[in-house]
Amino acid sequence: MPGTLIAVLVLLIIGIVALILNTNLFKMIMALTIIESAVLLFAVSGAYIKGAGAPLADINENMVNPLPQALTLTAIVIGAATTAIALSLVIKIYKHTKSVSSEDLTRLKG
């Protein structure tokens, strides 16, 4: 297994374990971000071609697959946007319940 795949595996497991075991909402968002970076690393590492360089046509004759890099850029922007929304919702939740623990979110209120 190449090194990047091991890194992907480690990041993915760290993220999932943190997501399941934590009740702090901030830590859960951080865990989601770690999982996201693992997926992005997997996409980019899958596009790597041995001996090829960055997809810049004036420098490299031999280029890696550029499509996953473009899609990864899209995913990073969307990930940042969802993280911003999640964080502001956590701020709102703290305002209502005075706590950032998901255990305190049991009360349904109109």
Binding site: V17, L21, A57, M63, P66, L73, V77
Partner: protein, 240 residues
Amino acid sequence: MSKTRIALLSIIVLVVIIFSFMLNVKDFAYYGNHNETSLYYVTEGVNDTGAVNIVTAILFDYRGFDTLGEAIVLFCVASAISMLFASRTAPKKSAELSILARAASLLYSPCIIIFGVYIIIHGHLSPGGGFQGGVILASVVLIHLVVFGESTVVRHLDYKKLAVIESFSLLLFIGIGLIPVLTGNAFLTNLPSLFPRGIPGELFSAGNIGLLNIATGSKVAASVAVILLNMIKRVEEDEI
């Protein structure tokens, strides 16, 4: 079964599934090889778009519509966060850092702005583009929020102007996309329509990719600044 046991069990199951998936990932077709699509992008990308940076060529030419959707997502997020924090106001007084930090941030800010603009307008030549450069530009706002305090920044930076910049950049993107429609081409067509091709590798080349980068850059910078300004607002006591 207790909660921790369920958690541990599900973690073990997940680890086994992911591990077995990872062991077989090298058997995927095209793993570590070009497929037809990527081979086309790599060989014909410069011819088709005039952009030397193939990633930007894909983002703003082949998948320009996708990038428009991405910009709209950012717009929606900025609107949603503004709506969530609509009842809040910036504090009247806020702490600021020492004279050293203030002087240094004033010294560095022009350099950061120049770097961000450079990243934006060289998007079709070197790594970078509208999204990256826009975030670098917005980092100036973040530095000033930390160093000078929220109240000073809010007094000098007009929130409504930022919102206007954001909306007009998105309209600019759509307008650039609509220019080829006038000549009978599809939305966001690049080279065969009105835009000059230029010599690939020079600053003024690649048709509308540079213009789209500028529109995206100002859009992202304004969006991220709006998000930051909204999230930095203090929690007021009387807010429901």
